[in-house]
């Protein structure tokens, strides 16, 4: 049985309030011992692989996007066997409610959530505000290792990419559709190929995918790292972009982590029915031979085919 939903009024306005929990709710569950067993497992997923070791939410386990979720050879996610082994190692069963949180307004936590959904894990939620909100409220962090026992028997599930993951050719056939580039404005125009202060991953062309609209991911986040209220999100994605929640939508960024954040906003907070994350993103597109590229602030035209 999945654990009861967070009834906090602030969450109920969203299309899928069951995908979010508040810090208060999580703190109460932990205090009540409800996060000790297999019903509820709290997972930290950060950009910085050592941040968890500096102190984490009591009982939380760590899943690293790079070491645990990515295949170490092919540019892809782990397969069903590796995912099952990861779940078993952390005491997560197929019926476990997983609450993810992390640094940077939950970028990597949202990315991890998206990977959990590639494997169809039913009940995965985000801690609204992530690590920063928990810390800002002075809630407990500990360096004590979780005592959670490993489990066994997480089923080997074949990843279902198609519903929420877009590949290069999908995007090529989607030009002119609801395509969102969530990178910074300078990356969108082509002035630079990576975020300020971030590694250059060797992208040989700057710019954006023609017809993509620019909405930097952070516009969906409030100052405290929580998601903005629904009305403010609608003002951006529905009114400003004129997008329709019933129409297919694809989001991309540089490697797919920032666009996971936007994917979550569109899919679960605004209830878009069909949203895919293009995880190849600019590090694939900006290197692709003969792929069309638009530079400057305008979305540009889809090339005639």
């Amino acid at each position: 049985m999945p654990i009861a939903l967070d009834p906090s009024p602030a969450l109920q306005e969203f299309a899928h309030p069951e995908k979010l929990v508040t810090t208060e709710w999580l703190a109460e569950r932990i205090a009540a011992g409800e996060a000790d067993g297999p019903e509820l497992v709290v997972v930290e997923s950060d950009e910085d692989v050592l941040l968890y070791e500096t102190g984490h939410i009591p009982g939380a386990v760590k899943i690293d996007w790079h070491l645990d979720l990515n295949d170490q050879v092919t540019r892809d996610y782990v397969d069903g066997e590796a995912f099952a082994a990861l779940m078993d190692r952390h005491g997560i069963t197929r019926g476990t409610t997983v609450v993810l949180y992390g640094d940077k307004s939950n970028w990597w936590a949202a990315y991890a959530l998206w990977v959990f959904e590639l494997f169809g894990h039913e009940d995965v939620r985000l801690l609204d505000g992530g690590r920063a909100a928990w810390q800002a409220e002075g809630r407990e962090l500990t360096t004590a290792e979780p005592t959670r026992a490993a489990s066994s028997g997480y089923p080997v599930i074949e990843r279902q990419d198609a519903p929420i993951r877009a590949f290069r050719d999908d995007v090529l056939g989607f030009l002119g559709g609801q395509l969102i580039d969530v990178r910074s404005p300078a990356e969108y125009t082509g002035e630079r190929t990576h975020m300020a202060d971030y590694p250059q991953e060797g992208t040989v062309r700057g710019g954006h995918i023609p017809t993509a609209r620019s909405v930097p991911w952070a516009r969906a986040a409030a100052e405290d790292g929580r998601f903005k209220p629904r009305a403010e999100l609608e003002a951006i994605y529905l009114q400003e972009l004129g997008y329709d929640a019933a129409q297919p939508t694809i989001a991309y960024c540089r490697i797919g982590e920032r666009s996971s954040h936007t994917w979550f906003v569109l899919r679960y907070l605004l209830g878009f029915e069909d949203v895919r994350n293009y995880d190849g993103s600019w590090t694939e597109w900006g290197n692709g031979v003969r792929l069309p590229v638009a530079v400057g602030t305008e979305p540009g035209e889809a090339p005639a085919r």
């Binding site: 910085d48 050592l50 941040l51 070791e53 500096t54 070491l67 640094d103 202060d197 590694p199």
Partner: protein, 158 residues
Amino acid sequence: MSPIDHTVPDAQDALPEAFQEIADDFHALGPKDRLQLLLEFSQSLPELPERYAEHPELLEPVPECQSPIFLVTEVEGSGREAIAHLFFSAPQEAPTTRGFASILAEALDGRTVGEVLDTPEGVTRGLGLAEVVSPLRLNGMAGMLARIKRQLVEKAGA
């Protein structure tokens, strides 16, 4: 200098002495404890001296790193015999990057410019960290080392 542990797949070339000691410490530990040791390094990264803390524009950014880090070098003397000093600034929320900086500070601060310049580029791969922090993240440490060397060449005329 102790012999290279050939059971370690990523240690191919002999490491400089200063790195060898750090590498031995890491290789003596299992993966979880290696992270703990890296965390201890991150906690012992010296604070910036005031002359830099008040003048962040004097520090050079290292864009190869995942998280913002800035560094600056000083030299006492000139040429390869000059003594190199290294200073770093990285936020507490970036412990991995701080840990990398702290390892470089421990291994290279106070050595001669010549010794720093002779440090092989691949030194960061010999520490046993690739499997616990990922090779992608280790690129950040290599980026710091390259920038340190470039600054020292300019400043010491080496």
